[in-house]
Amino acid sequence: MRWTRRGVSSAIHRAVGSTRSGRGYARLVLLLIVLAGTRAPAALRASLSAASDGKLEPETPEANPYSADVTLRLTVTPALKAVVMWGGKTLAQLAPGRMEADIVRPRGSGPLDLEIRADGYLPYHTRLYTDRDNRDGNADKVTVRMYRDEDACGLLGYRRGGTPGGMMK
């Protein structure tokens, strides 16, 4: 993997959040240790992989690309009480010790736009795809890290108490 300067910088921001707190510094040190090693954290790897280059890498073939159903997996960190919403429907209730949700859907029935809500954390929107199966190890699975407002300041577009942008008309 080729690490770009901007990519690493933005990944540090995302993974560490604010470095104003001691906890932030501790996380930064941990992250640098990981970066120095041979493997980056999975989420970070995923977030940087697209920025690496335009080299083509075929998707891992599915064992049965024509199965009727697919099993999607959502994993949420840290351990907390959370609810997974799909539009107006509650798809799953998560709690410490049970932070994974396996969702079975008909193949090709459209993506699932999910919202994860937890007290004290910012609502998190993500998407799972129903056009591939997870059971043979070929996505779709996603790990989501919930953010408190004070953790989100390193994220792209963060504005405390305001809207992102920057253009003044």
């Binding site: 990519g7 083509l56 459209g110 736009d113 929107h125």
Partner: protein, 742 residues
């Protein structure tokens, strides 16, 4: 005039503000190459522009009438250039419906439905053996609801592993009004009108239209509709003011009329010339109001406008949506503006419009079944003719060394298909659909004889493509005070596909395309600037073709455009906006893209490829093809891009690589919530072996600047925070963020 907004912003700023902006942007639209032509760029291949009076029902992919190399096919489809108004539309005399008696096969018995094909004999329809028809050289045209163009078919790897082409199911769902762009079911009564986006309706959807419309008697007054060239429309606030102003003027003129003791406004204008201008305006407004009432009547009659939700006389949201649906249903190039071509289409009975839609749909099916691309537009690749002389016709050399005109194979194949099915008139089509229940379209093929292919056809044609940038302006589009400067273009960018044959470059199609220009961009300082987005010049190749490609938004994309509300499982939550990224018909890369790469030979003799981010691709922004600028890419109408690349894959050595992994993820903050954009793959890839050469020609540089400005330019009218660090230019360019200019 360019429209210097990114695609998404443009939809808001240009399209919704109506005809004025668009008319300016498109004034001077010209043919693919050659002299200026204020109307439709002939040979465009796609439907014509608003205001040309010929929008609806243009035979998709067919060219104009000038020096037509094979005008017979076009002439046989009555009214290909102008669909006219209320008259009957159909095949011209001399093209008798039904299959050629020599091609008729015996009725087949005991065969599986999938093996059968339909033929129309003098005594009626018959089901024949499709395999036998193929052996006899007939084409089998897929009329089933499961049809998707070749680029969306599943593939197999060299080792036999299935390569699922995931967008196929979405394409079919969209064409059948079953699902939306994500593949989720439509709500009851919802319709997809996506023909202009490259997804024609299925035969079942058309069947439904014919059967419903056969019962409609709209009774609109064509004279009132055609008394105006268009109807001015406004946004809610402006409309209120404008209608109040018109009302005030009417009252004043009425009072003046009374004072002058005359019976009509015309007499008032004659008697008191100072009122002439006001009277003229009042009469125009009266005509427009009368036409407006007919538009309302027609939209209600077609079931597009719910009278319970519409305030009569006002161009409110429901009516705007209804107009847009009418236009997209009928292939009219306008976006909710009440243009002349819209009004003309409204004068035609619904069944006539349905027949035109059927013809366009069958043109696509015929082009794909025949594996042909020539649509008569190649004439536009020829040099302009001297005044008063016909344009030179493109030709190729046959075995005898004679020059033979390049035929309009799409037009001929469409004609053969319609004649073979006995579809001469709207009434024939209605009868056809009444004979065939919707279940017939689950598996329906027609066996017809297509015109013979020219000698240059084969499995490995020596194809090459050329993009002429036309007239190019590098000057800033405004002066020091921010006043917009005209940058007229007599020659617009064009895309031409050639085949090398017997020592000549033979043009097969020539379509309008786009090049880059001045566009707004969010810079690293978080502020928006103009930037010149250039289309690279020089020889390149297409090595990869991507079906349902994914566009990666650069980090400079405004975050507001990356969030939208969407109907999801009974609620309208905020979600990440994947419309522009794709895969999908709204993707910035459209339904299919060919990647431009520079090919070099290394010292060891191996080939090296570099991608400069430019693509030739389909585009949802169909109005941009009328003279606007891209971010550097070369856009085509989605249906033509699909046709083009399906043709290339069929006539070059190519292999399916399947879906390519991407693993793109962007987590961002927007208005107090976290959004996680995930794009698992890049699209379904094909590889051409060898790559297909494509060259971008420099065009003619106009104005003072002979080279593009590289830096950011402040947008007039915006105030900038100069305390921020200056925006960073390409030095720290990250590969992903700045690649891919839609």
């Amino acid at each position: 005039m360019s429209c210097p907004f990114p695609a998404r912003v443009h939809r808001v700023h240009c399209v919704r503000t109506g005809a004025a902006v668009f008319a300016l942007a498109c004034a001077g639209a010209v043919a693919c190459r050659g002299k200026a032509d204020l109307g439709h760029g002939r040979g465009q291949g796609g439907p014509p522009p608003p205001g040309s009076g010929e929008a609806a029902g243009q035979l998709a992919g067919s060219a104009g009438q000038t020096a037509q190399p094979d005008g017979a096919a076009r002439a046989a489809l009555a009214g290909p250039r102008s669909e006219g108004t209320a008259g009957e539309i159909g095949l011209a005399p001399g093209h008798e419906p039904g299959a050629d008696p020599n091609d008729l096969l015996p009725q087949a018995h005991g065969l599986a439905r999938e093996r059968l094909a339909l033929q129309v004999a003098p005594e009626g329809e018959r089901w024949v053996d499709g395999e036998e028809a193929r052996r006899r050289g007939l084409a089998l045209v897929d009329l089933s609801d499961g049809f998707a163009p070749a680029i969306f078919q599943d593939g197999k790897s060299a080792t036999g592993v299935p390569l699922p082409n995931r967008y196929r199911a979405v394409f079919v769902g969209l064409a059948n009004d079953r699902s939306d762009g994500d593949g989720e079911p439509l709500r009851p009564g919802e319709r997809n009108y996506l023909e202009l986006y490259g997804i024609p309706p299925s035969l079942s959807v058309l069947r439904q239209r014919f059967i419903e419309d056969a019962e409609r008697e709209c009774g609109v007054d064509a004279a009132k509709l055609l008394a105006v060239d268009g109807i001015a429309t406004w946004g809610k606030t402006s409309e209120k003011k404008e209608l109040a102003r018109q009302h005030g003027l009417a009252q004043r003129l009425l009072a003046a009329q009374s004072r002058a003791g005359v019976a009509s406004l015309a007499e008032l204008a004659a008697k008191e010339p100072r009122y002439r201008k006001d009277v003229k305006e009042q009469l125009r407004a009266d005509n427009e109001r009368a036409a407006f009432a007919e538009v309302e009547k027609r939209l209600i009659c077609e079931g597009l406008l719910d009278p319970a939700r519409h305030q009569p006389g006002w161009y409110d949201g429901p009516m705007r949506n209804a107009t847009m649906n009418f236009q997209q249903k009928n292939g009219i190039f306008a976006q909710a503006d009440l243009t002349r071509s819209t009004l003309e289409a409204m004068t035609r009975p619904p069944l006539q419009n349905d027949f035109l839609a059927l013809r366009r749909v069958l043109a696509e099916r015929a082009a794909h079944a025949g594996g042909v691309v020539e649509d008569g537009s190649a004439v536009e690749a020829m040099p302009p003719a001297p005044r008063g002389q016909p344009r030179q016709v493109p030709t190729y050399r046959n075995r005898a060394g004679e020059a033979v005109p390049v035929p309009d194979l799409v037009g001929q194949a469409t004609l053969s298909l319609m004649a073979g099915l006995g579809l001469s008139r709207a009434a024939d089509a209605l009868a056809f659909f009444r004979r065939h229940p919707a279940s017939d379209f689950r598996a329906l093929r027609a066996a017809v004889r297509f015109p013979p292919l020219p000698e240059y056809y084969g499995p490995a044609m020596d194809l090459l493509a050329e993009i002429d940038r036309g007239d190019v302006w590098y000057d800033l589009p405004f002066d020091g005070r921010g006043k917009r400067l005209p940058q007229p273009r007599a020659r617009f960018p064009s895309f031409t596909l050639f085949v090398r044959w017997r020592g000549e470059k033979v043009p097969l199609v020539c379509w309008r395309t786009t090049i880059g220009g001045w566009r707004s961009e969010l810079a690293t300082d978080g502020q928006e600037y103009y930037r010149y987005k250039e289309s690279d010049v020089g020889p390149r190749v297409w090595r990869h073709i991507v079906a349902s490609p994914v566009w990666l938004p650069p980090a400079t994309s405004p975050l507001g455009s990356m969030v939208k509300t969407k109907w999801v499982a009974g609620a309208y939550p905020h979600v990440v906006n994947y419309d522009e990224t794709g895969p999908g018909y709204l993707s910035a890369y459209g339904l299919v893209a060919g990647i431009h790469e520079e090919m070099r030979r290394r010292a060891d003799g191996s080939l090296a490829f570099s991608d400069d981010g430019i693509r030739t691709h389909g585009s949802f922004d169909y109005l941009s093809l009328r003279g606007r600028y891209s971010h550097g890419c070369h856009r085509l109408y989605n249906n033509l891009a699909v046709r083009l690349f399906s043709f290339v894959l069929a006539h070059r050595h190519a292999r399916a690589l399947g879906p390519m992994a991407l693993g793109f993820r962007r987590i961002f903050y927007w208005e107090g919530e976290i959004y996680d954009m995930r794009l698992p793959n890049r699209g379904f890839y094909y590889e051409l072996e060898p790559p297909l050469p494509i060259e971008t020609l420099p065009g003619t540089i106009k104005g003072k600047e002979q080279r593009p400005l590289r830096g950011y330019v402040a947008i007039p009218g915006l105030h900038y925070d100069h305390r921020r660090p200056a925006p960073v230019l390409e030095g720290g360019k990250s590969g992903i963020d700045d690649r891919g200019a839609p």
